[in-house]
Symmetry: C2
Subunit: 236 residues, 2 copies
């Protein structure tokens, strides 16, 4: 919508006085911004990934309001124009970051399950309580997540949200199945557990003084127990 299309012919024809190399001067000669190297002519995939990671860091640090083109470019050690070379716009970059962060969270949960051994109940508990320990229980991750929620008005972002949450519930349903929860109960049980965990996680990050991570873990475990008690009663 912004930016014209014809005015440039005259304006920029004469080269600007000091535009030899540009960016370099603002940073350490070869290590831009925050440690990421990648200063020149990166592999397209690596550059895309680096931009996504920079966006995630900015979202975690400054939330939705701070995640604008220039700060992200600075964080990535790159000029602002480059973002539009790799992504259709800032919204597309943020959407891609949503998917990437969602994947990371998913991996962290999977790791917690894997570390729990082979007992189905232990694996389920691990999956559920992982949200109350690092790296999930993290104020910065919540800020990132809220930023995504605040953008679900755009269909592009809403799609990612649905996909990420659907997968979360799918994983949970599989774990419930391994624990012997009846197929007809799995869907709603997964929804309830997801909601409880989300709500506890949200409030735990938002105002950590109202209860502790241990209390949250205890509440989630009790909720799980109640499903098995009920299931045992109705099965018999």
């Amino acid at each position: 919508m912004a930016g014209g299309g014809e005015r440039r012919k005259k304006t920029l024809t004469q080269p600007s006085p000091a535009s030899g190399r540009g960016l370099k001067g603002h940073f350490e000669p070869d290590a831009p911004a925050s440690g990421r190297g990648l200063s020149k002519r990166a592999e397209p995939d690596a550059r895309r990934q680096s931009l996504i990671e920079a966006t995630a860091r900015v979202l975690a640090r400054d939330g939705a309001t701070g995640a604008s083109v220039r700060p992200i470019a600075v964080e990535a050690g790159v000029s602002p124009g480059l973002i539009n070379h790799y992504f259709a716009g800032i919204d597309a970059l943020i959407a891609a970051t949503y998917s990437a962060v969602g994947e990371q969270v998913s991996n962290a949960l999977a790791a917690a399950v894997a570390a729990a051994g082979n007992d189905p109940r232990a694996r389920l508990t691990a999956y559920v309580t992982a949200s109350f320990a690092p790296p999930i229980a993290d104020r910065a991750l919540l800020a990132t997540w809220i930023a995504f929620w605040s953008l679900t008005g755009k269909p592009q972002i809403a799609e990612r949200h649905d996909a990420i949450y659907a997968r979360y519930r799918e994983d949970l349903e599989a774990l419930l199945a391994d624990c012997g929860i009846a197929p007809a109960d799995r869907r709603l049980t997964a929804i309830a557990i997801t909601a409880l965990v989300d709500g506890l996680w949200l409030e735990l990050c938002l105002s950590p003084d109202s209860f502790t991570a241990d209390e949250a873990r205890g509440l989630a475990e009790r909720q799980l127990e109640s499903y098995f008690v009920r299931s045992a009663n109705s099965d018999r």
Copy 2:
């Protein structure tokens, strides 16, 4: 750095063609924005209230990103400068709106409880399930709430959040007490119920296709039951 600061001198020196009264032109002559009258020299308290309500409407419509001075002023049928006359800044206005909307929600829940009659269990159920019906279960209200969450980095907003949630849990604890939940259990029970309801409410508003309001209500009711079953067992 961009845009320059010198070109404006010319651009804006001549007043915009139709700026006798300014805002008026966009709307009905004497009923600015959305029905609020109050066009000139209002009582300070009424004006403050009208600005807060306009902010709430804009937050509901456009979320956190859209809640900036000018759109709010348009919604209130007022010039942008007036906002800084009544509030220390846009952040203060939004904080005040948080309190006001929190109060409204609180009132809506109280009304649901009052409508439920005298049976303590019915009153508790009404309080809990009111979140899955209008006016609470509303995409626009969620957008408002997410906007507040996204600002909890600022201490001013975080305080309001803590106060609002503390009150929510207090009310819930009182209802639990009426239902005979042991004093020692009330705090954590209230936290768990709040979390479940919040999580269900969040996802119900965010992606309404994953489950229905009725299902959410059913899940919340079952959770309540489980607390009474447990309590009955341990009491006897």
